[in-house]
């Protein structure tokens, strides 16, 4: 079982320390082979754990032991963990294969592969950890490797800036997680996941500290999963190479926050008041990210904002206590979003690293494979019926219907608002996906003849993994439906709290399902018509929505970037003007050694002036002191 960990760290060691002595292609193939073995091992254990309904606990060694605190390097494999491992390692394998060719002409390809392996290793640690501190180790290492990978082309200043932004904003979430772990320790004197759930189930529930814990958990998850407020780093992180965006910023790392909420799901089941916060965050994020996505023309940024909005849906599902729905959407999203990014990389690579979709237009005849894959993945993203995105996304929106039945009646108004927002976000998602499809493939070609003649066609190394991802993003929803969100399933026995109200509204949901299908069709057709009307003049879209777009750009950009920059600016000025100049260089020096030094210096100069060498000066001084002395004597007698 530990082979899963050993193989990935072995990959990193081989690549990082010995990779320079080996051939690029062979070492890449070796790593891919290792990962494939890893995947086989995981599949094997998946069946073992699933069939026998067991959890495997392995204790490596005692990490931190003081008289009260005991933290072990202990790892756990249960149904949730092994499924998540399966997803992460399979997508990591595909991205590794993809980047063998994608980064072939980069002089530091081996370094890139080694960072990818390190990322995979830390993500595996995050998933398999059995206590909060080991989880935190994985959580932080994932952030640091993400820094290294965004900053992979380190001579570019934009890459540097966005990597630093990612680290700083993630750190806010990390600190809140650290504090929440400390509060947990303060309550239950232990940091194991199992004991934490046990303590919630027991009578510790009345403790008001649990509110603090859940709020800190949510802040941590918001930082990592790029929800509203701390979402700014995700679109900026697209500066990195495309495989990185695919693996880290779509499929695995950004879902770590959602995974954390799933892992401690029992907390949110019992504290219902906090759930409305998660629902609000998720729905606002999905709405806002999709509306910003409408006006983006950078191919990768469109996908990044769509990732942000889909993460909002996962968050929302967690808030509605549909944790298995959230995980289901996470898996489907991982497949089609990884495909979307990889195919975007394929297009960008073949068009001489151009990212603006207005310049990439009209490539239906040039890149047919890209068209097929982008169509499948985009339709899956929109929730086109019977593709994988449909199964999960529609289910999450339907979850709102279940909550009307539950105890949260007093929150009904909020819930209605959030439901409305998330419904509109679906239509906006459809709009921008259709827009990018139309502009990329149906509009007349805008490129110059030189780039079209020198188009780079990727070889089978890139194509085959994409075909696998295509198949997965078509079928994964259907295949996993009964396993994860089926009625009366016993896959989540004791791991995830299941919502039992599904059965009551089953008939009603069928009608809503049909309605959803119709809505998706309807909007796809409408937006196709809108976009095809603007067949030749893409700028028209901007002109028509000029006022709206200006509003969105200006006001949203405030949330997007300016609010952060304002805070940084204020702190920067505070640091320089007030703290450094007023205190360190001002008051502390004036009343400290510098002031003393100056005082002595001035006294010394004044004393020096008295030593003129003239007799009448000395005699005058003598008289002066004498009179002073007399006056003193007179006074004291």
């Amino acid at each position: 079982m530990l082979l899963v960990l050993y193989i990935t760290i072995l990959n990193f060691i081989i690549l990082f320390f010995f990779g320079r002595f080996l051939n690029n292609l062979y070492v890449g193939l070796l790593v891919v082979l290792n990962l494939f073995i890893n995947l086989l091992v995981i599949i094997n254990y998946y069946f073992i754990i699933y069939k026998n309904k067991i959890t495997i606990n392995i204790n490596l060694y005692n990490w931190i032991t003081t008289n009260n605190l005991k933290v072990e390097m202990s790892i756990i494999f249960d149904n949730l963990v092994i499924l998540m491992l399966l997803i992460v390692v399979s997508i990591s394998l595909i991205v590794h294969i993809y980047s063998i060719e994608y980064m072939l002409y980069d002089p530091e390809q081996i370094k890139f592969l080694s960072y990818l392996s390190l990322f995979t290793f830390s993500m595996i640690i995050l998933i398999v950890s059995n206590n909060f501190i080991l989880f935190f180790l994985g959580w932080e290492c994932v952030g640091i490797t993400s820094y290294l990978l965004i900053n992979f082309w380190y001579s570019r200043i934009t890459a540097n800036k966005s990597a630093l932004m990612a680290v700083f904003i993630n750190k806010l979430g990390d600190i809140s997680l650290l504090i929440s772990f400390s509060i947990i320790y303060f309550i239950i004197f232990n940091l194991d996941f199992n004991l934490f759930t046990m303590s919630i189930l027991s009578n510790v529930l009345n403790n008001y500290w649990f509110y603090y814990i859940s709020i800190f958990f949510i802040i941590g998850a918001v930082g990592k999963s790029a929800q509203v407020g701390l979402h700014i780093w995700l679109p900026e992180a697209m500066e990195g190479p495309t495989p990185v965006s695919s693996l880290i910023h779509a499929a695995t790392m950004v879902t770590a926050g959602v995974f954390l909420l799933i892992k401690v799901n029992i907390l949110f089941v019992y504290i219902n008041n906090i759930c409305i916060l998660i629902i609000g965050l998720g729905s606002i994020t999905s709405f806002m990210a999709s509306t910003i996505g409408l006006f983006q023309y950078d191919l990768k940024k469109i996908i990044a904002y769509s990732t942000c909005s889909q993460l909002g849906y996962m968050f929302l599902a967690n808030g509605l206590n549909g944790f298995n729905f959230s995980l289901y959407h996470l898996i489907n999203h991982a497949f089609f979003k990884a495909l979307l990014f990889l195919i975007a990389g394929y297009i960008i690579h073949s068009f001489n690293n151009e990212q603006d979709i207005r310049k990439l237009s009209g490539e239906l005849e040039i890149l047919p494979f890209a068209y097929i894959s982008l169509l499948i993945s985009n339709l899956s993203l929109m929730g086109f019926p019977f593709l994988s995105g449909f199964y999960s996304k529609e289910k999450i929106i339907e979850l709102f219907l279940n909550t009307y039945n539950s105890n949260n009646v007093y929150l009904l108004n909020y819930l209605l608002f959030f439901q409305f927002i998330s419904f509109t976000a679906v239509t906006f998602t459809i709009y921008y996906s259709v827009k990018s499809l139309v502009i990329l493939f149906f509009v007349k070609c805008n490129n110059n003849i030189h780039t079209i003649k020198n188009i780079y066609y990727s070889s089978f190394i890139t194509i085959y993994p994409l075909i696998i991802l295509n198949l997965l993003s078509i079928f994964s929803g259907y295949l996993l439906q009964d396993l994860l969100i089926g009625l009366n399933n016993n896959y989540w026995f004791n791991i995830i709290f299941l919502f039992n109200n599904n059965t009551i509204y089953f008939e009603f949901i069928k009608i809503v399902n049909v309605l959803n299908i119709l809505i998706v069709f309807y909007f796809i057709i409408i937006f196709m018509i809108i976009n095809i009307n603007n067949y030749y003049e893409i700028q028209l879209i901007n002109l028509q929505l000029n006022n709206l777009s200006l509003f969105l750009l200006k006001k949203y950009m405030f949330f997007n970037k300016n609010i952060l920059f304002e805070i940084i600016n204020i702190n920067y000025n505070l640091a320089y003007k007030y703290i450094y100049f007023l205190f360190d260089k001002g008051i502390l020096e004036l009343f400290g050694a510098y002031g003393m030094y100056n005082l002595i210096n001035i006294g010394y100069i004044k004393n020096n002036n008295l030593n003129t060498g003239l007799l009448y000066h000395y005699s005058g001084l003598f008289l002066y002191y004498l009179t002073f002395l007399f006056i003193l004597i007179i006074i004291f007698y």
Partner: protein
């Protein structure tokens, strides 16, 4: 003296500390983790003055750190571009500082503690004064000397008071005596000022960045790694055990002072342009975190703050070595001139990255364990403002450390006309030894904690409470 004799003496210093280092390694193995009291007592009889140098769990890691860092400093001076006699001078100063530090940490008399505590000033004053090229170095050394002398007057007065009260210089008697109420306040304040200058806390900290900037590399390694720990070690030995009720009484004062200094240090760090000043200010913030841990009256936080001192000693000295290596190559400490180091010094940037990760307390590095334990202790005592300040500290530490690393290593290089070597063997050895300790303390802290834990428990229950 001939050159050969000087060379022999130079070697003698390093042999002596190699011997000490191996000896302390041996002691680490045979340390009894179940015994909280003093374990290895060496009786020393010089000129009919009998003193005891001894080791227990509290001071052992300071001693270990001293022998390690002095050894590394002596190693680092091999590569210096000074001539042989100047090298001998430097090594002599480092050697004397090391010996005095060992006496401070190991002694059981507080008279000897005072004498060696103050004697360290003299070689260090000379060390800052003789090396460097700017005129400001003299100013910095005066600043260093006067600030610490200001504290030491208070220490002298209070130690005389203590002696008049108990008629003996032994720690163990000191810990068991009680003082009159009027004297208590005076003694507490004078001792606190004496140690607050060394930590350094808010009103007294401006000597540290100046001294760091003007000191040579090895000097700032010793300053950050060892001399800063003297203040908190003094608090551990004097303030906490003697004045039991007064500590609780003044705990809010001490906490607020350290909160202010963390806030000020972390805020002024983000606008510094000198690399050494950045690390110096960050070490102020880290040391004040230790004081927060010491004054939360909690055995977990006590263990955590001692661990953070050790971890910070390792990490900060590694950072200063890196800066020293850069300074040897490029002759500047200003951040503006550095860009794209990774193009010509990939090995250095590898090590530098790990030390920066240690500074921002990534899990699995040494600082993380300490900060985790301190945060746990503070939350246990429910000091909410301290938690907020710790958040600010960690966030700002991340900001300036990552920004520093990013500015130095990445982007396009500015020194494209200079031919530079990557690390040579001695530098590689030094940096890899420090990296080993950073990761060792991070991944296997139990080897440290098992010794610290019992002695802190003994200290906490038998001496403080």
């Amino acid at each position: 003296m001939t050159n050969l004799n000087i060379l022999k003496l130079n070697n003698l210093f390093s042999y002596f500390f190699i011997f000490l280092f191996t000896y302390f390694n041996f002691i680490w193995v045979i340390m009894d983790p179940l015994l909280g009291n003093y374990q290895h007592i060496h009786i020393i009889n010089i000129f009919n003055v009998k003193t005891y140098l001894s080791i227990d769990g509290l001071n052992f890691f300071f001693i270990y750190l001293t022998s390690l860092l002095i050894l590394l400093c002596l190693l680092f001076n091999i590569n210096n571009k000074y001539n042989l006699i100047e090298k001998y001078k430097h090594n002599l100063l480092i050697f004397s500082i090391g010996i005095l530090l060992l006496i401070v940490f190991m002694t059981m008399d507080f008279l000897f503690f005072y004498i060696s505590f103050e004697l360290i000033l003299i070689p260090f004053f000379i060390y800052i004064g003789i090396s460097g090229y700017k005129n400001r170095r003299i100013h910095a050394s005066y600043l260093f000397f006067f600030y610490t002398l200001f504290g030491s007057f208070f220490l002298l007065v209070s130690i005389l008071f203590l002696f008049l009260q108990i008629g003996n210089y032994s720690y163990e008697i000191l810990w068991n005596t009680e003082f009159l109420e009027n004297r208590n306040y005076l003694l507490w304040f004078s001792l606190f000022i004496a140690f607050a200058v060394k930590i350094p806390t808010f009103p007294f900290y401006i000597w540290l960045p100046e001294a760091h900037v003007e000191a040579p590399t090895t000097g700032s390694v010793l300053l950050a790694g060892l001399l800063l720990k003297l203040g908190s070690y003094g608090i551990l030995r004097f303030l906490l055990p003697i004045f039991i009720e007064l500590n609780y009484y003044f705990s809010n004062l001490v906490n607020s002072i350290s909160i202010i200094s963390i806030f000020f240090a972390s805020y002024s760090t983000i606008r510094q342009i000198d690399i050494k000043k950045i690390i110096a200010y960050s070490s102020i913030a880290h040391m004040n975190m230790c004081i927060l841990g010491l004054y939360s009256f909690n055995d977990i936080a006590l263990v955590g703050s001692i661990f953070l001192m050790i971890g910070h000693g390792v990490v900060a000295s590694g950072l200063f070595f890196v800066i020293g290596i850069l300074y040897n190559r490029f002759n500047t400490k200003l951040l503006f001139y550095y860009n794209g180091i990774i193009y010509y010094m990939p090995l250095l940037s590898f090590f530098f990255f790990f030390y920066i990760l240690g500074n921002i307390s990534l899990p699995s590095t040494s600082n993380f364990i300490g900060e985790l334990l301190i945060i746990k202790g503070i939350i246990y005592n429910n000091y909410k403002i301290s938690i907020f300040i710790i958040i600010i500290n960690i966030l700002f530490c991340t900001i300036y450390s990552m920004w520093l690393y990013n500015k130095i290593t990445f982007l396009l290089p500015k020194f494209y006309w200079i031919i530079v070597m990557d690390l040579n063997y001695t530098e590689f050895l030094i940096l890899s030894i420090i990296l080993f300790y950073v990761l060792f303390f991070g991944f296997f802290p139990n080897y440290v904690l098992c010794i610290l834990d019992t002695s802190v428990l003994y200290y906490y229950f038998y001496i403080i409470a």
